[in-house]
């Protein structure tokens, strides 16, 4: 009875220029309800976040500076449960061929789980990181995960 998973259900947004841009609707991994991705108080949406919302591809992927910043964020927020190498202990392994939520194989799915949370201790990290930071931690995560 759950709504069908639509990876790229689109939301129409009219830009200042009057061009119709298509932003991805991000959804909670459990019930596919839409996630509110409006910026937190004081958060500025970077160009990379804006680009990601349209392309679904993480612009920071392979960017050495972003990966380095992502590594620090991973150390702050992720490794207590997933361990420094991503092999998991309290939280699941991130480096297997399979995942608890297979959605994380795509950047959109990975963002949905980190931003919106999944189950139990996998909290919505939207409460702790900006969306730009989440993209950076995702860029670092991709260096740990099997391709």
């Amino acid at each position: 009875m759950r709504p069908a998973y639509v990876l790229a259900a689109v939301l129409s947004v009219t830009t200042a220029a009057g061009v119709i841009a298509q932003d991805i609707t991000f959804r909670h991994v459990f019930d596919k309800s839409p996630l509110d991705v409006s910026p937190k108080a004081g958060e500025v949406l970077t160009d990379q976040v804006k680009e990601f919302r349209k392309s679904g591809q993480n612009p920071y992927k392979g960017n050495a500076d972003a990966v380095a910043q992502g590594k620090k964020l991973y150390s702050d927020f992720c490794e207590s449960c997933h361990l420094p190498d991503g092999s998991g202990r309290m939280g699941p392994s991130l480096i297997e061929d399979f995942h608890v939520h297979d959605e994380i194989k795509t950047d959109v799915g990975l963002f949905e789980v980190v931003f919106g949370g999944a189950a139990g201790a996998m909290q919505p990290f939207s409460k702790r990181m900006t969306q730009d930071e989440i993209l950076k931690v995702m860029a670092y995560l991709r260096t740990l995960m099997k391709p």
Partner: protein, 474 residues
């Protein structure tokens, strides 16, 4: 430390589970122990309905059972909040241990397992106003304290600072070697005694061997009588299993049976009710039968749930640190061989990696068992509800007359990080969730707020009620 003097005492004799014949109910072999994948009787369909939110790291919940309908949510920082029957949270705390001492908080919260964990109401609370709390103490360097406060009848919803300081009675102060594995919950049993869940004192692997030692209060369920004069902290119930194990006596060598000698345990703490527990953070009595369930938080690979019928005489050894669940400790692989020590659990569930090097599980796993309460509704009978801290899974564990076995069924997986539970005055199971955190911890009031939930039969959920996001297991 006291560690050395009693290592002798710790001489552990691995014994195959010797339990009174409790009819059908306590597993005698690992094959009798329930694991995920079973089906409990009653086919319950449940939803988690939000009762109230806005709590800072809620890690405990209790009710007074005084007919007031109030629910008391314990915030780790050292406050107890009152949820009124209409769901509104009173702004002023019922009790605030961060303000009673002019030099700073009474409560040590430096590590996520430290803080105020539990409040328990005396069975005659309506008459005597006694409430008991269990927390890690800042002034006593992290020791766990059980203390009693008295509610002023003129101020039923708030123990003011003055009233707190005027009425406080320290019941117990247990030094803590490390910053984790305190246990936490305290609760009165159907016998009127106060039961205390006390963890093994921490680090990992139980480096003090507290689990198998009887000369320490660590790694136990303790049972004490708190109905004592104000100048006596507590007394030992005469029927505690080790009440007289270290009693001063003349040495007699003759005329005593081997069984008689075996009951002499020099150094044994008479407060002990059950031992061999790693971190019994949550335990609950079934209000109908008086039976006891204990959720013992496991180490790297397995969680276990223990059970005692009301008729238990105590003294059960649940095996830690020689076993975790039905497994060997330490675990080295899939085929470890070791004796089963003491009494088996009724249920166990794995972490994502069930043994070192195992293929990672995709389903049915968790990492930290938080007992929520015993359900006798929605088709369920004496069903222990357990929420997992890491995976958000909720399991029901119940005896199944059909298969003559304990069964363990995943009832749902929630987005919630479960911390604690109890049953409300109507018998519904309540649960708290927090957004507690290990790294980048900015203190027990800096995390996103947690909430209080009620586990209700789905067909009783009314429009307008906020229901937790869940995946329902098939």
């Amino acid at each position: 430390m006291i560690a050395c003097k009693a290592l002798l005492l710790a001489a552990v004799v691995p014994v195959l589970a010797v339990v009174p014949v409790q009819a059908q109910t306590i597993p005698q072999t690992p094959g009798d122990v329930a694991r995920p994948g079973g089906k409990i009787p009653g086919n319950p369909k449940l939803s988690l309905v939000k009762v109230a939110d806005g709590f800072n790291d809620p890690v405990g919940v209790s009710v007074a059972d005084d007919g007031s309908g109030r629910i008391f949510v314990v915030e780790r920082v050292g406050k107890v909040k009152v949820v009124m029957p209409d769901g509104k949270v009173q702004a002023e705390p019922f009790l605030d241990l961060t303000k009673t001492n002019p030099l700073g908080s009474e409560v040590q919260t430096g590590f996520v397992e430290q803080g105020l964990w539990s409040i328990a109401f005396h069975p005659k609370f309506k008459d005597n106003g006694y409430v008991f709390v269990h927390y890690s103490s800042l002034p006593f360097n992290g020791a766990s304290i059980v203390g009693r406060y008295t509610v002023d009848k003129a101020s039923p919803n708030q123990i003011t600072k003055d009233q707190a300081n005027k009425s406080v009675k320290v019941i117990m102060n247990v030094p803590q070697p490390y910053y984790n594995h305190y246990g936490g919950r305290i609760a009165f049993g159907p016998d009127g005694m106060l039961y205390i869940g006390r963890g093994d004192g921490g680090w990992e692997g139980d480096p003090l061997n507290a689990g198998q030692r009887l000369d320490t209060l660590l790694a136990k369920i303790l049972r004490i009588n708190v109905d004592t004069p104000d100048d006596v902290a507590y007394s030992i119930p005469k029927d505690n299993p080790f009440a007289r194990a270290d009693y001063p006596q003349m040495m007699s060598l003759f005329g005593i049976t081997e069984e008689g000698f075996s009951k002499i345990k020099i150094g044994a703490r008479p407060e002990t009710w059950a031992y061999g527990l790693r971190n019994p953070y949550m335990f609950h009595f079934d209000s109908k039968s008086g039976d006891l369930f204990i959720a013992d938080v496991g180490q790297n690979h397995w969680e276990e749930i223990n059970y005692q019928p009301r008729s238990s005489k105590g003294g059960e050894n649940y095996g830690w640190n020689l076993n975790m669940g039905t497994k060997c400790h330490p675990m080295t692989g899939p085929n470890d061989k070791c004796p089963i020590v003491g009494v088996l659990p009724i249920a166990e569930y794995p972490h994502q990696e069930p043994y070192p090097g195992a293929a990672k599980l995709t389903d049915g796993w968790g990492c930290s068992a938080q007992g929520l309460g015993v359900a006798n509704y929605g088709g369920m009978e004496k069903t222990y509800m357990v929420g997992d801290w890491c995976s958000g899974r909720v399991w029901g564990i119940a005896w199944d007359k059909g298969t003559n076995k304990w069964q363990m069924q995943e009832l749902m997986q929630a987005t919630l990080q479960f911390t604690a539970g109890t049953t409300d005055e109507n018998g519904h199971v309540l649960a708290t969730n927090c957004y507690c955190f290990y790294l980048e911890d900015k203190g027990p009031t800096a995390n996103p707020p947690g909430a209080l939930w009620r586990l209700m039969p789905t067909n009783e959920v009314k429009p307008g009620m906020e229901v937790a996001k869940v995946k329902t297991a098939n």
